[in-house]
Symmetry: C2
Subunit: 476 residues, 2 copies
């Protein structure tokens, strides 16, 4: 038994030390490793496969929205940033700068992109000439760099991978619709693919993207009650179009300034998956993005016919499009159970001589730890159905967990008590920066998102009339 | 007619001014655009879609070879390069260097990766402990940077996209087999997917990758007779394993130094496709990687039922997995023909009222410009077969073109005359650097690849005994 529990013992207690649990899980399941430069990460094959599944799911959705993938240069002249005043203020302090190249000092230093509004804006100004060129919708999957002081794998690293979509429109209305439409697409993706429920809505001015008119966010609750900003969609109005001169000839013959949007999600999402679903045994991966959806563990593997039957089952499941691993190593079944549980594989099938004789297989669900006996006949169909059930149940379980931890507060003490207990706290807000700052100062919680459509009487801080209800939480 | 020929007129004559033809084609078909920083490119959606198709095809092949995708950091400490003496000598002059980040001067400057042997070697040293960890095979799709003086879109730019595979093995034999196995995989991919025949073999010492024991290359002939190095596979022996301390405990209990390989292809391949198949009308894309494989052009589109029938045909073809565009714009059919020919779409279907009545469609092949009438019944099957025929015929045509332009030479005059006429020239070589340098000096041709398995009597330069036959060519 000692050996069988070795992994569990190696992972810190999720309820006792959540940050250490996170670090243990990401390293021991080989999702990620620390890079040699401080604040960088190496995404190992098991982690990268999750990212590839995320990419495939999002690409299909982007395509439906008429978005095309492209690639823009990594290096941006520093002068580009200064064209949009708020933008440079927000990003300049975090930029990594190339000053030497090809053995020579550069005349103008070049920034490694922290985000690409400026360079894509420059190109769009060239490509957009007439209303016929609109809407223009491009996306790129790439690396970006923001020099951070404190870093954690997936959550905050100096370099990370993301997608950034950029669209150009003829009217404010169309651009606003695109901003909100993409937010809806993201939300549907989060729920359907990652089994993560999200609160969506506007950010306060303070939390807005540098240069945006309006930033919409998705906030997800992690198991420690903290919020993780999982993606944002920005309505940029004419701010970047004016700064980068994106103009088009309207169909009535006059030159018009365009409207733009941008939106993105990053490898942070892998962190969101870990901290939304993980448990004391390690990862719990949603089937849609799990690199291995089903692991087959042979029982009494040396007995005649067992391995062959396992191979045949593997082939059958793969034929149905299921991602399967057959663990035919020399380790004991118990060791394998722990290993694959830690790695979060949604379904484990145990198959031994007696099962085969009885025409059955034992399926263990990672999410609920339940075991179900199922016939070997039509195995692919049963496993597919089970994966689909797991996917839905994981979302539902996450939603219940979160909803049970959304509380209301009338005053600062209430907000503090709420976030201390690991909740999202809804509270009235007068709309002034001073009150927002005070909440952060006293509770370490920030305004995550407007509770859209909700209203209350008083600001929890100053007691004046509340203009909005805000969701406060501590955040990653 | 003037309008219908406008595109053709805009492209320089492929036989008169090949470099200008290339520039015209890449810009006018919107494959690429120049970035704001000198030497950078923006890969536009039409170009990026080709790259995505290349990625999908290669990923499937890598997976079969047991290679897993991962992601390693962009920035590499300068000190890493100096650990392998030849490597630093080869790459240091081309490196772009980050010296400032987060508002502070860095203690150690960081290089933007020109290639990742050093950082991946560092990580592998950590991951490889025992013979059980071997072989280790990882690949990454990423951007790299090499500061170049003269640049051309896809062919040579300061930043480009590529994949770099890195493997670690227990023995020299296994690593050598991997190096050659990957070369074979690349060659099969080039022929099957890009319809480009390649000469494969070793590079001379002078042309070797900085730090490799042996570099294997694929050389493809462009329509101007120049060679394009299309991919390389390097056997690194123990050079990097020694420099980065990649050691493993053998099954007999002693510590052993590992053997490594690396191999890569880049967005250069898009340039290879353009210059292998393109003609006076523009691009000619091989069906396997063409973003649009088939365009449907309605004839007399306003006539009742025509557009509807075109939509139905589109749906039918898409249902069979064909990438289809229906051009329902207001432009004239002639204008559309030119547009889609310039963009290199393999098959154009013309469908008008008379065709529909007769139950037929007119299919125009981009590669041969032939038109074939085919029944509308089972259209998907016919179009699939036609695409497959085009793919094979394009490879065959390219092979014949190339083979007709491989000549032999006995002396320097022969080499010069051969390359001047746009040929690959095979000639004997004694094996000394001096003779290799002389060929370059007198003919501007370089030793592209060993003509493996061939032999001849004399070195074409010094007249001494030939140890090898070399393929000389001018190159991109």
């Amino acid at each position: 038994m000692a050996k069988e529990n070795q992994y569990v013992e190696q992972i810190a207690d999720i309820n006792g030390d959540f940050p250490q649990w996170y670090t243990d899980v990401v390293l021991k399941t080989k999702l990620v490793d620390y890079g040699p430069v401080k604040g960088t990460m190496v995404i190992r094959p098991y982690g990268y496969a999750i990212w590839e599944n995320i990419q495939n799911e999002l690409n299909a959705r982007f395509k439906k929205r008429g978005v095309q993938n492209a690639y823009f240069p990594l290096l941006i002249p520093m002068s580009f940033f200064t064209k949009e005043a708020e933008h440079v203020e927000g990003f300049a302090p975090e930029v990594a700068v190339v000053t030497v190249a090809g053995g020579e000092t550069l005349a103008e230093p070049l920034a490694i992109r922290p985000t690409s509004e400026t360079i894509i804006g420059t190109m769009c100004a060239k490509w957009v000439q007439s209303y016929r060129d609109l809407p223009l919708k491009v996306n790129q999957w790439c690396n970006v760099m923001r020099w951070e002081k404190t870093t954690r794998p997936f959550l905050r690293t100096s370099e990370f991978l993301w997608q950034e979509g950029h669209t150009v429109h003829a009217s404010a209305k169309e651009a606003e619709e695109e901003t909100l439409g993409m937010l809806e697409t993201y939300k549907e993706f989060m729920e359907t693919c990652l089994a993560i429920p999200v609160l969506t809505g506007r950010k306060t001015e303070k939390e807005r993207f540098a240069g945006a008119i309006e930033t919409y966010t998705m906030e997800a609750m992690m198991k420690d009650g903290k919020s993780l900003q999982s993606g944002t969609s920005h309505y940029l109005g004419q701010k970047f179009a004016t700064a980068f001169d994106i103009k088009y000839l309207g169909n009535e013959g006059t030159l018009q300034t365009a409207y733009t949007t941008s939106w993105g999600v990053s490898t942070r999402l892998i962190g969101a998956v870990i901290m939304t679903h993980g448990d004391e045994r390690g990862l719990v991966l949603p089937p849609v993005v799990a690199p291995t959806q089903c692991v087959i563990v042979p029982i009494a593997a040396r007995k005649g016919g067992v391995l062959e039957r396992c191979e045949a089952l593997k082939a059958e499941l793969e034929g149905a499009g299921i991602r399967v691993t057959l663990d035919a190593t020399d380790n004991s079944p118990g060791w394998k159970f722990n290993e694959w549980e830690m790695k979060g594989v949604p379904v484990r099938i145990e198959l031994g001589p007696r099962d085969i004789e009885a025409g059955k297989m034992l399926c263990a669900r990672r999410d609920t730890c339940e075991k179900v006996e199922m016939p070997l006949e039509n195995a692919a169909e049963s496993v597919k159905a089970l994966l689909s059930t797991i996917q839905k149940d994981m979302l539902e379980a996450a939603r219940v967990r979160r909803d049970n931890r959304i509380v209301y507060a009338d005053d600062m003490d209430g907000i503090l008590a709420g976030v201390e207990a690991g909740n999202f706290v809804k509270a009235g807000w007068c709309g002034c920066r001073e009150c927002e700052d005070k909440v952060k100062e006293k509770t370490a919680a920030t305004a995550r998102v407007y509770a859209e459509g909700e209203s209350t009487e008083k600001c929890a801080v100053c007691g004046k009339e509340a203009k909005h209800v805000i969701v406060y939480a501590r955040a990653y």
